[in-house]
Homo-oligomer: 130 residues x 2
């Protein structure tokens, strides 16, 4: 149970997620994967993403009300525009130890999102919409 990611699809999917800095959705990963393997099916992408996530090889990022996004595992945090959902990377350093101490429990990882209003949303309009 040490060697994982054997299939070509899993391998390529991991590659896609890791080489992208753009928090792709399953659908986008699917499109990307299709370039190399035109026969592949969306369910396969979901299967593999779930497996990779289970094995801690990718991160899953969920923003309220939007499709889940997948991200490389390298630790970093996210800045999320509360209005349009735009996601940016930001690195606040590793808070694991601090958090474990405060919580008094040992954790697998943590997920930190800072909610703000992006430039556009701030200037554009004061009501909702992207």
């Amino acid at each position: 149970m040490v060697l994982m990611v054997v299939t070509k699809y899993a391998k390529k999917i991991l590659e896609i997620v890791e080489s992208s800095r753009s928090h792709m959705t399953a659908e986008q990963i699917f499109e990307q994967l299709r370039i190399t393997y035109p026969k592949v099916v969306l369910a396969t992408v979901y299967n593999n993403l779930n497996r990779l996530w289970d094995e801690n090889r990718i991160r899953k990022v969920s923003v309220e009300g939007m499709a889940d996004r997948y991200d490389r595992i390298v630790r970093h945090d996210h800045l999320v525009c509360k209005r349009c959902g735009k996601l940016l990377d930001v690195d606040l350093g590793d808070l694991t130890v601090q958090l474990e101490q405060k919580a008094g429990i040992s954790i697998l990882s943590y997920d930190l999102k800072l909610l703000y209003l992006c430039e556009e949303c701030r200037t554009n309009t004061k009501q909702k919409g992207t």
Copy 2:
């Protein structure tokens, strides 16, 4: 634009969310609301939840792959079981200032989830890694 939450539905929904400690889904809130207003419709619940969230009167909590949950605004963090998605409250104190400093940006709020494996999931099965 200062007085909000005027309608009976919004009022009651806010009441339900605030008086519950259980991170309810829209569906559950709907059921609860129906006790008082049997005529109400699910879309109304979504409309109101979205409005309340927009107005910062409730929190929305999303756990990967599950329906969004709604929560009172009182600051606290969450412990999420990575396997079963179970959600628990935990309070690590207010990190806003620290985070704003590290990020060098002013934020509306933040969302911190600690991922762990709950007792049950830890003992139950060892398949799927971890």
